[in-house]
Amino acid sequence: MADEPLLTISDLSVTFASGRDRHVTAVDRVSFDVRRGETLALVGESGSGKSVTALSVLQLLPYPLAAHTPGSSIRFQGQELVGAGEPQLRQIRGNRIAMVFQEPMTSLNPLHTIERQVGEVLTIHKGLAGPAARARIIELLRLVGLGAQAEKRLDAYPHQLSGGQRQRVMIAMALANNPDILIADEPTTAVDVTIQAQLLKLLAELQAKLGMAVLFITHDLNIVRKVAHRVCVMQQGKIVESGPVADIFTRPRHDYTKHLLAAEPKGKPAPRVADAPPIVEAKDVKVWFPIKGGVLRRTQGYVKAVDGVDFTLREGHTLGVVGESGSGKTTLGLALLRLESAQGRIVFSGRDIRALRARDLRPLRREMQIVFQDPYGSLSPRLSVGQIIEEGLKIHGLGGEAERTAAIADALREVRLEPDIRHRYPHEFSGGQRQRIAIARALVLKPRFLVLDEPTSALDMSVQAQIVDLLRDLQERHRLAYLFISHDLRVVKALADEVMVLKDGRVVEQGAAARIFAAPTQAYTKALLTAAFNLEATETGVVRT
């Protein structure tokens, strides 16, 4: 690796004003440097200040709300960036240092075509326009692997592209001016594992080809192990440990690093009673959304979100449903709870609930509950924790005032939260705590069947492990049946007895979890497993780009 560091950050601190005289320190005297051609990973859990560090390199923080304390310095090729003037910064942003953000949906302007989005960077920094710009844009799209259809893609709008394709366009924009440094802020967090593997591969290839430095921000240690040369571990705004990847992973010195490394969802589901009574049986379940067209809005075809799914879920068992986004996993979960209308037979403890009226269904709702992916969106922000958990009890008319309070306290204790928190509001809690509250809301009704719709994917790795342990423990104590929906195969492996792999609404492979993880028979399942466990893309064409 190289001589002189490209980017040197020393004693960088960032504070945010909160309230009148209070300041929150988001980044606390952070120092590191990035050399030409290397990948430096900044790793840490949410709130550790890694994104703020990245944004301050380009001075993109909301100043003057955010402030750098005196002594903070960011030097890029000898230029001081802290407090540099706007014209100087504009020369660097998108030109010498480029950035790729986490969310490809919101970081592209929905009203601009791909040609315009990518072309903008070229016009600003290179003054390129017309055919010259067009040629360069096509070259860039080829570079990021949108090759064959590059010319057709020029007129596409962001919504016409998949998440992976959008992220590729973002990378093309970042590469437009051959930057010296690419800052990638969790570029793969919002995409499927298969796409993630492809993007990581692409980034590695591009780095080898173009020789740029990459500052890679992530919370996922497996990615770090895969892509980075050196790593800085951040906790609460401080870098607690840094060094070459091999050293950190084999000989972590700081407790926090050890904690992070140990935090993977682990363990195996406990052995089950094989002949437990079935709770949910699905026979040929279909959810088809009509596509309407023409003047008379007649149905011209269907989007087959779920297309003929069969399974039997027994008491105390877990069925893991895996697949990429758009494979119909969530729709299946909603259909089983009759939150989405479906065809076929859905039998819940011996009763076909598919055609039940809403009123007849209500008593059964007690016994089947759901926990959603996003703990920030699934709790009503204007109700206290107690009110949120109590709601189900009230709807079903369970118990008097005192009994309900006791039930709420029990449910909170069950998910290992203090009963006292019931007077507080959701925004006061972290993601993991909120997810526990969401689980408590479901548990308080003493359900027998729980749909878990990606309950861990919005959470930090160490919190994921805790939630997985909690779910496993609750299952054993209450003989709950889980339908566990996830794209994260590591979590599924830790919980599921049986696995069902979905693609485009159809079942690709279904069977005992141990068998599927050890010896998958379908190419698609194999590609999914390699992407999830080895972060490697498969070139057989079974997964889309």
């Binding site: 004003a17 909160s18 309230g19 009148r20 709300l65 909603l334 709870l337 939150l339 269904l361 209500r362 709702r365 007690r366 089947m368 509950q369 759901i370 959603f372 992916q373 996003d374 969106g377 699934s378 709790l379 009503s380 922000p381 204007r382 109700l383 206290s384 709601e391 189900g392 709807i395 079903h396 939260l417 203090e418 006292d420 928190i421 007077h423 507080r424 509001y425 925004h427 006061e428 969401a438 809301r441 009704l445």
Partner: protein, 349 residues
């Protein structure tokens, strides 16, 4: 999290923060108090400006002419009709055997000052603080009564049209689909009806009073909030916590009012003071055009109109202008403070 949880308070932390933010906007905070004081005082207009005394002590007995009607004979007069307390003869009779407590302004909105030294409209004087209008009625008294009726009209109109608007918007946004489509078209057609012509036509059939006017204005004003609430409901109905409530078995009504409405309320409450500002001016403008309250009623609009036709008497125009302008300014300042209060990103430094 361990045992030191704060005691349940009446206000949630979020609302406490909002109250703080509201108070920190000093201009809006003081505007609210000034406005409340003005409105509060005008509610007791009868005690401030009246042609009947508040309290009369006569011959060992107390009389309250504000609340009860006494014949002139009660005070030693000659007629069986109601005593005219402005009549020097009656005043003299009472003064002989007792005393009188007058309100600060000795005119009601309809009292004609017959003792004017100059032809009406008379300029401000010791007796008529803001002068009189072209029929010799005291402007200060008419202002107080006019203010009360305008603000009350605005307040009732705002509350009723908000309630209707929120419910209509909620139903459209929550159910969406055909309900929404049809409702929206109906609103567009309804919105196209000319309000003023409706009023003129109505005036041909009935003598429009306060409630008639309120009803007619309400027919058209409820639409202002529909779009806002509808948009909030359209957005919120797909939220996970709404789905979670459905999974718990909650019914539509309970989801609408318990889970979705509180979120729509922020946008609504922010908008409300500005709707109120508009509504207070509704009656003023109708009166100004002559389609409002029956002749003789106290009204800021009618005062403005008199100011327009009596340019030689600037106190009429100035008074009416100052009154309407200050109501508008105060309410808009309050509105700004409310907007600050609900702004989650607002940071004071």
């Amino acid at each position: 999290m361990h045992g030191d949880a704060p005691k349940p308070s009446r206000l949630s932390p979020l609302n406490r923060r909002r109250l703080e933010n509201f108070k920190r906007n000093k201009r809006g905070f003081w505007s609210l108090w000034i406005f409340l004081a003005m409105f509060g005082l005008s509610l007791f207009a009868e005690l401030i400006a009246n042609d009947r005394p508040i309290l009369v002590y006569y011959d060992g007995a107390f009389y309250m002419p504000i609340f009860r009607t006494y014949p002139e004979t009660a005070f030693g007069g000659e007629f069986e009709t109601e005593a005219d307390y402005r009549d020097p003869f009656v005043i003299e009779k009472i003064a002989d055997k007792g005393w009188i407590i007058w309100p600060p302004i000795r005119f009601s909105y309809a009292t004609v000052n017959l003792n004017l030294q100059v032809p009406a409209p008379a300029p401000p004087s010791h007796e008529n603080w803001l002068g009189t209008d072209d029929q010799g009625r005291d402007v200060a008294a008419r202002l107080i009564y006019g203010l009360r009726i305008s603000v009350l009209f605005g307040l009732i109109l705002t509350i009723l049209s908000s309630v209707i608007g929120v419910i209509a918007g909620a139903v459209q946004g929550y159910f969406g689909g055909w309900t929404d489509l049809i409702f929206q078209r109906v609103i567009e057609i309804w919105d196209g009806l000319p309000q003023l012509y409706m009023l003129i036509i109505l005036a041909a059939f009935v003598q429009p009073n306060f409630w008639w006017l309120l009803g007619i204005m309400l027919l058209f004003s409820w639409m202002s909030l529909v779009g806002l609430v509808r948009a909030e409901f359209l957005r919120a109905r797909n939220f996970d916590y709404v789905r979670a409530a459905r999974a718990l078995g909650a019914g539509n009504i309970s989801i609408m009012f318990r889970h979705v409405l509180p979120n729509a309320m922020v946008a609504t409450l922010t908008f409300l003071p500005f709707i109120f500002a508009g509504s207070t001016q509704t009656l003023v403008s109708l009166d100004f055009l002559g389609f409002g309250l029956p002749p003789g009623s106290p009204s800021l609009g009618e005062l403005l109109n008199q100011g327009k036709s009596n340019l030689q008497a600037p106190w009429l125009g100035f008074t009416a202008f100052a009154a309407t302008a200050s109501i508008l300014i105060l309410v808009v300042f309050i509105g700004e403070a409310v907007r600050d209060a609900f702004d989650p990103r607002k940071i004071f430094r």
